[in-house]
Amino acid sequence: MSDEEMTYSSRHIEQLLQCSICLDRFKTPKLLPCQHTYCQSPCLEQLVNPRTRMIRCPECRADHLVPRGGTGSYPNNITIMGFMDLPRLAQGVESVATTTHRDEGGIMPTKKVDKPTDSGSSGMMSSVCCSAGYNDDFSGGSSYEAPIVVAPPPPRTTCSGCFRNSRLSACNHCQQQLCEACCRQHMEQVKVEIERMIYRIKRALPKISSAIDDIGYKGNQSQQKCQNAKTEITDIFERHLRDFEARQRFLMAEVDAFLFAELENLRIQQENLEVELASMASFCDSSESAIGHGSRLTDTELMQLHEQCQENSDTMQSFEGSQIRRAGLRQIDVKAENQLLTDAIAAFGEVEIIGRPISAHINNRTDGQRSYESRLASRLVDLARPERSLYQSRPTSRNIDTDYALSVIGNQSPLAVSPASQRRQTYLSSRDQHLSADAADLYDSRSGRNTGGAVSRVPRRRPRREHHSDTRIAGIMGGDDTAYSRYRRRSLGGALSPPREADDLDDEESPLPLTRGQTFSRDPLQISPRNPRRPIRYDIAFDNGSSTESLDDDNSSTSRLRPNPYPNTNNRTQTQTQSQTQPQNQNNSRSNRGNVEPRNKYNQKGRAIIRFGSRGNGQHEFTWPRGVAVSPIDDTIYVADSSNHRVQVFDNTGRFLRSFGSYGTNEGEFDCLAGITVNTLGQVIVSDRYNHRIQVFDHNCSCITSFGEEGSAEGQLNYPWGIACDNMGFIYVCDKENNRIQVFQSNGNFVRGFGEMGSRDGEFDNPQYVAVSPDNKIYISDSSNHRIQVFSMYGDFLFSFGSSGTQNGQLKYPRGVAIDSQGFVAVSDSGNNRVQIFRPDGTYYSMFGSWGNENGQFKALEGLAILANGNIVVSDRENHRIQIF
């Protein structure tokens, strides 16, 4: 501090040490209850009203009863006294200062009318008679000083402990200015406090150690359980290995049998041929000798011989050409559907962890992700707060207490699907999958198992989320060139006798070389033929939606087969099945490739899980509900109950929470409201259709602002309909009758508008609903053009999709639009009474719904919205109800 500042502050101190009655330095400063200080004598003494024994404070006019002991009983103002103990510096100067710069002090007027001004000439004083202020200032504005009452407190210059000692040092602990003695005392106090805290900490230590013990116990338990699980896994796999080996032995035996039969066959043939050879040779010998002694032979005998020779010669000719070659056709093929088996093994078994996961998570996850990760993470023990699990309703306060069970599910009857397993969510870490895939490769070299021949592709509708749940046995049959160990053996040829199994020996040119089953297998075989080298493809949809793969032969981390509509096939339908399944698979995989699967199972929606509402004006009753919105804050559902002129609010299970609004044109009143949305602040924004305005409500449902009026100029509206907010708070309004979109700031300031009447890109015909995607693209249901148009947030046309029609991907008067966090677009196709789901790029994904008033049926759809859990809230207008899918 410079000297000047020092004198300034000391001057201030002097002013504060001046009694405002005697205008002199305090003598025995007494503190009144109103905190104003005066000298005890004569100032305070004079102020006492002898009749009432009261004192009225000159500064604030507060009345105080004088204590029994008189004014001397008022407490001394110790602070002032401390200041007065300070050595007065620069006595000579100071006396001038006190006289020249002394503040008169003054009354705080009863009305607060005083304000400091530079010049007394300006009229600023209080009104007359009822109150009067004072103005306190100095001439020429040379140095203005604030009145005492507002003067800033001076810096402390005495010890805050004893108020006496002026040799101070700052306390490191609490920043107080303390003298040495007080500081020591203070430090003692701090020590005591520290000791107390240490004691408290020590007392709490057992909590942690018990938690540690608990963790140890849990660890042992987990080890035990995992050991059991491993044992179980080992058992299962050993059993299957035994089966596999038995199957191997069986197949070997079959091959041996074939070999034996073949050898036996050949031996017989050989014998026959040997006999033939011998007889032919003897015939030749006898004939030659007979001819050599020709004279003895009669003509008749000669003719007979000739005939025999002729016959034998023909036999020999015909024998060589066909029989030997045909015998060579016999072959053996080993066919194993390796891919299916591999897949089945990869998908075989499931480690299911039941129980609350013990881990800390980020909260804002979708269910799928949450459970997926929590299952993985549940092997870790964490002290953090547990996350709510959807799969367990047991409430637990501390997750140390939670338990989790480990069970291994390996189905004994692989094809049976237990109902329980349908409900299970099963997840395997990808590492686990790779492990099983490796194991599968190992088993590939073995040829099969004795589950009764083979099971071809099992095109069975798999239950939802069941991709690892049960054992999938792929047959060793079916494929040909895909088989790893395909080999052929030509049978030993050369038999003279006609083949007894000629019927079974097909020509090489046979289109379906499916000989083995018919030839050797005792069991009826189900064969699923495939064209050589056609890749087998599965569409994979991970339940958590985090990744999607389409599998080729060389890419095998399977998880879930897409539901296959084609039932189990057999020999008769194989060709047909093939021709149907292959394109199907290819289509699926093509459309799959490069696309994210929705984590909301749109393709499994179709039945409403919650329905509520009927016509009326009570709670849970609607009269033509139109827009619906979901609050991003608390997942509540806001329904624009249009002809009841109100907004009804429900929680995400459909429980009525509140409603607000009534008919009218004032703020907070509606006239057939249509669109509704909730912005990221939780403000509810409603398009008040017949009032041609937008109203914004806070979360208490009180109207904050309204804007817009009827007209077609900028910022004016003409039957505004759908409304949406982006994450920056801009409000997008479907200005329906003006056939345009208008954008407003959240306070209602017009930002921009785009679109005009027409059917070309960027033009509208009754734009009805609008939605904003997570990447800030604006999706608008261009209703009478039967399409959805997509714009950038600046109003630049990007693309559109949909055309008039009833096919998948076609629309009729589309209305509500909603977009999930992945960008999938749900459109209420009101003319077709269905909800269609499109991918973010506008390609069709799935649909559900039909006309009617049953579950999952609609009559005239309006708005829709998507809940945080992926469920779709649909406003079913003519049924006056809300359905949640």
Partner: protein, 156 residues
Amino acid sequence: MAGLPRRILKETQRLMQEPVPGISAIPDDNNARYFHVVIKGPSESPYHSGLFELELFLPEEYPMSAPKVRFMTKIYHPNIDKLGRICLDILKDKWSPALQIRTVLLSIQALLSAPNPDDPLDNNVADLWKCNEQQAIETAKDWTRKYAMAKNNNIQ
């Protein structure tokens, strides 16, 4: 009179050293408790450029009781009567020892800027002020010209 209280001395000293703009207060030569006061009419008021003489007397009980103040110059004001008595709360029941000569005079100056016809001392003036403010202001200006400017030379 047993000597002048220190407070009055101090106030007087300061009034002399740092006069309030538009106000002069000079103690009488014979009586230190009697002040000759001149207040300049506030600008933007009907009393603009008028110079109003007042007398101020500090009673024996001062500062425990209010000083006595009276207009010597005739003035047309709803809160000031023909005799120059002033209707001002701090001069009566709202007096406080924390107030000073300086603040009292400032309050009177402010009163000239903001007449309060609702709490009148002179009913005639106040009635006119209420029903025809324009005319009242004209009259006030007129009086100011007539009475407050004549003695210009005396004060400066």
